[in-house]
């Protein structure tokens, strides 16, 4: 990992006392020791007296009317809690953006593995056996199983046109721009589902409380989403619903909306039985039933000049939302906004639709729609370069946005634009030009040798290639999202005088708790270890919004920084001297508690000035700022088996100030590998609407043996509204690997795939079409 930094904005001036700086330092993780030693308790580790084990009975058909549900009389149902839609005290829905998804299907099922019945028993083995003792009779209807069938209205899954949401972004005179262009270049790009594959499967525990409410603990990203959904489901006031996060083994978006479903199920079983109920999915169920990345088809038509100047963009995006709406409109929105890539267009039109299919609902996944459209536009850039006979790097250099440029939504890029910096640094570190030339030379030599019968001794026919990609990724919620969230963060003092961060943002492995300790420690001038981060528990933390959209550090971190400043001011005024380190802080804090009582400071989100967004026209500042990433991927393709081996990856990413560089590099490496998996091997295969490969044997993700060396350079161009200049890093790395892999394969073999994953099967067909 390398770092390069441009001047940091107003770093708080230090007094004479030297303190251990926290921000920018690779301090040990707060949760590291417990996780490494196994002391951390995940939901399934919790031993709860009297607990029942819950299971879900799911549909086996993609579209049908439920005729009957029968409990086999031959089975012993003693002690079994059985819940169906009639047992729901409130509204039968999973309340997210809309309320279209039933918590339990009643009359119809709209996808395979849709929950119909819930079972719970003290004995986990009995409840497992009971699942197959439930007989469900269906009257099958024709399903629409993919986005093409949905567009053709093979079945009506939603409304009278199957469309969940339509977005139009228009800027400039498109017709005129096409007329002015030297050439028009078109392409169509496809990408499939992807599973988040957190290590810990979805898991929840629900208990009725003495005061007639519900207490839910579990693996999740967004406690207040579950809080909202449970109020509707159980018809309870907010104060009767308590949601508490347990140690969470990864999320990647997969625990953004789905916890409301499994949490709702556990709650219904607890409600009826009066006992605590645990639902822990195994991998088979989690892979088959939970949300995935939205598949997409993107058609792009561009007008370009012969010298490579981009002029006009016409993009048509279709995403497959699955059977219910979930977060689809927001995913589509981010996808549409990013469809123009990291480039200047004189005129652009982006038309995006999300459609319904009879497949399990898709949801949030790292990047949230942007990786799909960025895969398309970046692949298209490589195609434009090929058609113009131009180097793809030169094409990007010519068109990448600069400070002051305007995006298709009319957003003027006012600060922290790292596009050219990341592009040049990546090209340089990867020795892009040299490698490109060398691989071309070597491939030509290999081909000539093979023709002459003098190929490699082991008989292999290998070709190498290098490809690049560039992207910008909006940090934080889209459009007016942050204002609507109206996040509130708090910082208070524990009885023993330690500062305690109270936010609903969750540690899900990315290091949130550690960096919040650093931020508060830095402002207060105390060691980061002295700072506590409260367990996200809706009874004890305010709603600081969901843990999504690369917003936690940039947005909520900023609120906590302000809280810490307020606390510092109060305590220093009270003590009548500046805080001098950890021990001094503790002394002052304890005195305050004794003399003045509890101390709590809060900060609500305030929209930075000069950021305007119009939801109706889709014009304005879509994000406060963008983060930027470039990547170079080198591959080796075996022409005999069409297998692609990843040789090396180089990436430079402008994430603003890195509060904890090692954690940032970890996000970049992990996100890159997730992107490489999506590009090459991760493919959710369906059979009649059911996820066919719902086991790790056949849903293929890269192992450590598949992971190439990833050389990361962090570029730190500060953002004035982020704490110490930080921007978002969580999603950005997911944006660039896939198109770079496709470009590298094209460079190696001359075969360009427009669909990912680039499995050997797809590539073999392409190679054979080309006659290799």
């Amino acid at each position: 990992m390398a770092r390069s930094r441009t001047a940091s904005p107003e770093r708080p001036a230090r007094k004479t006392i030297t303190l251990p700086a926290s921000v920018g330092v690779n301090v040990p993780r707060k949760d590291g020791r417990d996780k490494v030693t196994g002391a951390a308790l995940y939901l399934d580790d919790l031993r709860v007296p009297g607990v029942l084990h819950g299971r879900t009975v799911r549909s086996t058909v993609a579209n049908a009317r439920i005729v009957s549900v029968t409990l086999d009389p031959a089975f012993d149902w003693t002690g079994m809690t059985v819940v169906d839609h009639r047992d729901i005290p409130g509204e039968n829905c999973v309340a997210v953006i809309e309320r279209d998804q039933p918590m339990l299907a009643s009359t119809h099922v709209r996808h395979v593995d849709e929950p119909i019945l819930l079972l719970a028993h003290e004995d986990a083995e009995r409840v497992e056996a009971a699942v197959s003792a439930v007989k469900i009779e269906y009257e099958p209807l024709t399903p629409a199983l993919n986005l093409e069938e949905s567009l053709e209205k093979k079945a009506l899954v939603r409304g009278d046109d199957n469309v969940f949401k339509t977005i139009r972004i228009e800027r400039g005179d498109l017709d005129e721009a096409f007329v002015r262009s030297d050439r028009v270049i078109e392409g169509e790009y496809w990408c499939g589902h992807q599973e988040q594959l957190y290590i810990e499967n979805n898991a929840m525990l629900a208990e009725r409380t003495k005061d007639g409410g519900i207490h839910i603990r579990g693996s999740m990203q967004c406690p207040y989403y579950v809080h909202g959904a449970l109020q509707v489901l159980l018809n309870l006031p907010p104060e009767k619903v308590r949601i508490e996060q347990t140690v969470t083994g990864g999320g990647f978006g997969g625990k953004e909306d789905y916890p409301s479903v499994i949490g709702g199920h556990a709650a219904l079983l607890a409600w009826k039985s009066g006992r605590p109920v645990k639902i822990v999915y195994d991998r088979l169920e989690d892979l088959a039933a939970t949300t995935k990345r939205h598949p997409a088809r993107v058609r792009i038509k561009t007008g370009v000049m012969n010298d490579g100047t981009l002029v006009a963009l016409d993009a048509d995006v279709v995403m497959d939302g699955g059977a219910y709406l979930t977060l689809t409109p927001v995913v589509l929105s981010r996808g549409a906004i990013h469809a123009g890539g990291c480039y200047r267009w004189d005129a652009a039109r982006i038309f995006a639709r999300a459609v319904a299919t009879n497949t399990p609902p898709n949801g949030a996944f790292r990047g949230f729609g942007a990786p799909q459209t960025l895969f398309a536009i970046e692949s298209h850039m490589d195609r434009i370069a090929a058609e113009l006979g131009m180097d793809p790097l030169a094409l990007r250099r010519k068109n990448a946005v600069k400070l002051g440029d305007v995006t298709p939504t009319g957003q003027v890029l006012k600060e922290s634009v790292g596009s050219h910096e990341v592009l040049e640094r990546t090209a340089k570190r990867a020795k892009y030009a040299e490698k490109r030339a060398r691989y071309e030379r070597e491939n030509a030599a290999a081909e000539a040798a093979e023709r002459a019968g003098k190929g490699a001794k082991d008989g292999r026919r290998l070709r190498r290639g290098i490809g690049m990609a560039l992207a910008m990724h909006g940090a934080g919620f889209t459009g007016s999202g942050e204002s609507k969230l109206n996040s509130l963060a708090a910082l208070d003092l524990t009885p023993d005088g330690r500062p305690c961060v109270r936010i609903s943002n969750t540690e899900i492995g990315q290091g949130t708790n550690t960096v919040f300790g650093q931020i508060v420690g830095e402002v207060l001038g105390i060691p980061h270890e002295q700072v506590l981060v409260h367990v996200p528990d809706t009874d004890h933390v305010p709603d600081s919004g969901p843990t999504v959209a690369s917003r936690t550090l940039m947005v909520v971190g900023g609120l906590i920084e302000k809280c810490a400043k307020k606390m510092k001011e109060k305590l220093e005024l009270f003590a009548e001297h500046p805080i001098e380190g950890g021990a001094d802080f503790a002394r002052i804090a304890k005195r305050w508690l004794k003399e003045r009582g509890p101390l709590r400071v809060e900060q609500r989100y305030q929209k930075p000035t000069g950021i305007e967004w119009d939801d109706d026209t889709y014009q304005g500042d879509a994000y406060g700022v963008f983060a930027y990433a470039a990547i170079a991927v080198e591959v080796e393709v075996d022409l005999d088996t069409a297998e692609t081996k990843l040789l090396h990856v180089t990436t430079a990413q402008d994430i603003g100030r890195a509060i904890h560089p090692v954690l940032c590099a970890g996000q970049i490496e992990g996100g890159t590998l997730q992107g490489l998996g999506w590009a090459l091997m991760e493919e959710v295969r369906h059979k009649d609407g059911k996820v066919w490969n719902h086991q790790l044997t056949n849903y293929i993700i890269p192992t450590s043996a598949d992971a190439p060396p990833i050389d990361v350079e962090i570029v730190e161009i500060p953002y004035s509204n982020g704490p110490w200049g930080a921007k978002g890093v969580g999603e950005l790395p997911m944006d660039v690997p896939a198109p770079a892999v496709i470009a590298a394969i094209a460079h190696a073999t001359g075969c360009r795939l427009d669909e990912i994953p680039a499995t050997p099967e797809r590539l073999m067909r392409a190679l054979q079409r080309r006659g290799a």
Partner: protein
């Protein structure tokens, strides 16, 4: 775990003879399922697809262990793990089995998974199986009635079906000497670099005779049919011919007739056949420089 673990029982025999008696006696009620490394059985138990509830732990049977060379032949006990096989110095003369062993799962699986289990599990994708076929391996089996020997090529009778009696155990595999001067080749085409199930797995042995013609040809394939198969037409296209581009082309055409792969969850027939043809071509190129692929 879809299987109710509390309903399962494991018998621990004292030695092989005892194991064979227990296995034989179990036929009267519920057959004991032999348990070696458990790397296949545990997957079935997790998925709930194994019906049996009683198991016979083979670990105490010392007679099922050991790798011994006897007059140029090699005897490998059924309980030998892939890790032990890959590391054993005597294996040097059978390099294809070492290569296959090194690509089974990853280190953890190689530490537990046994060659006997791979044979008995009889998956069409078992990675050691084409090697056993290419080496003309013999399989030694035993029951209360005594020992017998079955050529590996006669062992598999259908999809996951073996010519074994219900009370027989696999005791060992025996590898004959590989003819001098043999060209040997192994290639696994899987879903990724490790922990991967084969889409195509190939083991080949070519022995040049006196006049330069191939005098012994074995081309064995996994994941291409319900059982591990030799491509006999392709073998015939090479046998008694000198290495040449022409012979390679005949073999390639013949292979297309030999192999009728299927579409499944991991790959499709078209890919499997293309990859197989290319792998054979690669073997021929590597075994005789001067070929065109």
């Amino acid at each position: 775990m879809k299987t109710a673990i509390s309903t399962l029982a494991v018998e621990c025999p004292k030695h092989l003879k005892h194991a064979l008696t227990l296995l034989h006696e179990s036929l009267a009620t519920e057959r004991l399922t032999p348990l070696a490394g458990g790397t296949d059985l545990f997957v079935y138990l997790n998925a709930g697809s194994h019906r049996g509830t009683r198991f016979l732990d083979l670990a105490p049977c010392a007679e099922l262990r050991g790798i011994k060379a006897i007059k140029g032949r090699l005897r490998i006990g059924a309980l030998e793990t892939f890790d032990r096989i890959a590391r054993h110095p005597k294996m040097a003369a059978w390099p294809l089995l070492v290569q296959a062993a090194r690509c089974v799962g990853a280190a953890q699986i190689q530490n537990r998974g046994t060659i006997g289990g791979n044979i008995a599990n009889a998956s069409p994708a078992g990675d050691s199986l084409p090697v056993l076929l290419a080496y003309d391996a013999l399989v030694h089996v035993a029951s209360v009635r005594g020992e017998r020997t079955i050529p590996f090529r006669e062992l598999q009778t259908g999809y996951r079906q073996l010519a074994l009696e219900a009370d027989e155990l696999i005791v060992a595999v025996e590898l004959p000497e590989v003819p001098a001067g043999a060209k040997q080749f192994f290639r696994k085409v899987g879903t990724r670099a490790a922990q991967s199930i084969s889409k195509v797995v190939f083991a080949g042995v070519l022995v040049p005779g006196r006049g330069g013609q191939w005098s012994h040809v074995r081309l064995a394939w996994g994941s291409m049919a319900p059982i591990t198969v030799r491509s006999l037409r392709a073998e015939a296209a090479l046998l008694a011919h000198k290495p040449s581009a022409q012979a390679a082309a005949w073999a390639d055409v013949a292979l297309g007739e030999d192999l009728v792969p299927i579409d499944d969850i991991r790959s499709d027939a078209e890919y499997r056949l293309s990859a197989a043809r290319h792998v054979l071509a690669q073997f021929l190129r590597s075994s005789h420089a001067g070929f065109r692929g």
